[in-house]
């Protein structure tokens, strides 16, 4: 292993100062600092920088991100009921194109079933009257 240079010694010295075990043996670092005034001065200066940072805290930036996130994590309604209703509607329209048709009542109630199905999916009742409607700006 090559002899560590001054910079490696300073890195190790700072780590020791913060209670860490550096990769270079501690006695070697201490010996170097005793013999090298430049490194000693650098470590002293660096320690004073650490003192400036001591007892500092982060500035808090209050944020309310949940409403925006919630919109994206909410489970999306399944698409298949709409697909089924769309297919039913198309089938019904095609049936209507057949000339001289005499279909049973079962076919004729398809539009009613579609409307009923839609109300079920969107969880609304066509017979319920909203009594708490408010005008804009009220």
């Amino acid at each position: 292993m090559n002899q560590p240079g001054c910079e490696e010694m300073q890195i190790a010295a700072m780590a020791i100062e913060e209670g860490q075990v550096p990769e270079i043996p501690v006695p070697l670092v201490r010996e170097h600092l005793n013999q090298c005034p430049a490194c000693r001065d650098a470590v002293t200066a660096m320690s004073s920088t650490l003192a400036i940072l001591a007892r500092r805290t982060r500035r808090r930036h209050p944020a309310d991100l949940w409403p925006a996130i919630q919109r994206n994590v909410a489970p999306r309604p399944a698409a298949w009921p709409y697909v089924v209703l769309a297919v039913l509607l198309v089938v019904y329209e095609l049936i209507e194109l057949v000339p001289d048709r005499q279909w049973s009542i079962a076919i004729q109630i398809i539009p009613v079933l579609i409307a009923f199905g839609l109300f079920r999916i969107v969880k609304q009742s066509p017979f319920q009257i909203a009594t708490e409607l408010r005008l804009e700006g009220e």
């Binding site: 700072m14 990769e23 650490l50 500035r59 994206n72």
Partner: protein, 174 residues
């Protein structure tokens, strides 16, 4: 609600349980993202995207681990990605962005230190603030940043040396 309980509920289909995690960590996350990005507005965007990343990746979360360090990896990815896209230098704000006011310390001193921090590179600012403002140990830094402890020592050293230069100390030969 504990983090693990919230995560279990999310995995069980209760998306709203994720709100517990967002409300618990959003301020801390915005602080960390601000330290990387240099401004709180971009930080909020990055944090929001990171939470969505975390939500989508929850199935891969190891419940034996802590949530925030796991989330932090996504947050810093989002921050560095956002920085690449926007290529924006941190704004030189007359107010402090990273540091809170410290009692008994003149505000000018805090502003000077905050400005010096903002002139560091994002990686330097990140490691210095995690070490000195959050008090993370070298081991925690190594885990959080996914680098070996030896790299933590050298990165911290160079970041602090640059900070000292920015604060008016003598420029070191490199």
């Amino acid at each position: 609600m504990e983090d693990t309980e919230a995560i279990r509920r999310c995995l069980g289909g209760e998306g709203d349980a994720f709100g517990t995690l967002v409300l618990r960590y959003q301020t801390e996350a915005v602080g960390h993202a601000t330290a990387i990005l240099g401004n709180p507005e971009d930080a909020c965007d990055a944090v929001q995207e990171a939470f969505l990343d975390a939500f989508r990746a929850l199935a891969r979360f190891d419940l034996a681990r802590q949530f925030y360090p796991w989330f932090y990896a996504m947050l810093r990815n989002r921050c560095f990605r956002l920085m690449r896209v926007r290529r924006k230098c941190p704004a030189v704000d007359p107010e402090t962005v990273v540091l809170a006011d410290a009692p008994g310390v003149p505000i000018e001193e805090t502003i000077a230190l905050d400005l010096a921090l903002r002139q560091l590179s994002p990686e330097e600012r990140e490691i210095v603030t995690l070490r000195h403002l959050d008090g993370l140990s070298y081991q925690e830094l190594a885990e959080r940043l996914d680098i070996p402890p030896g790299t933590v020592m050298s990165r911290l050293f160079y970041a602090r040396r640059r900070l000292r230069e920015l604060l008016g100390g003598p420029k070191e030969e490199k």
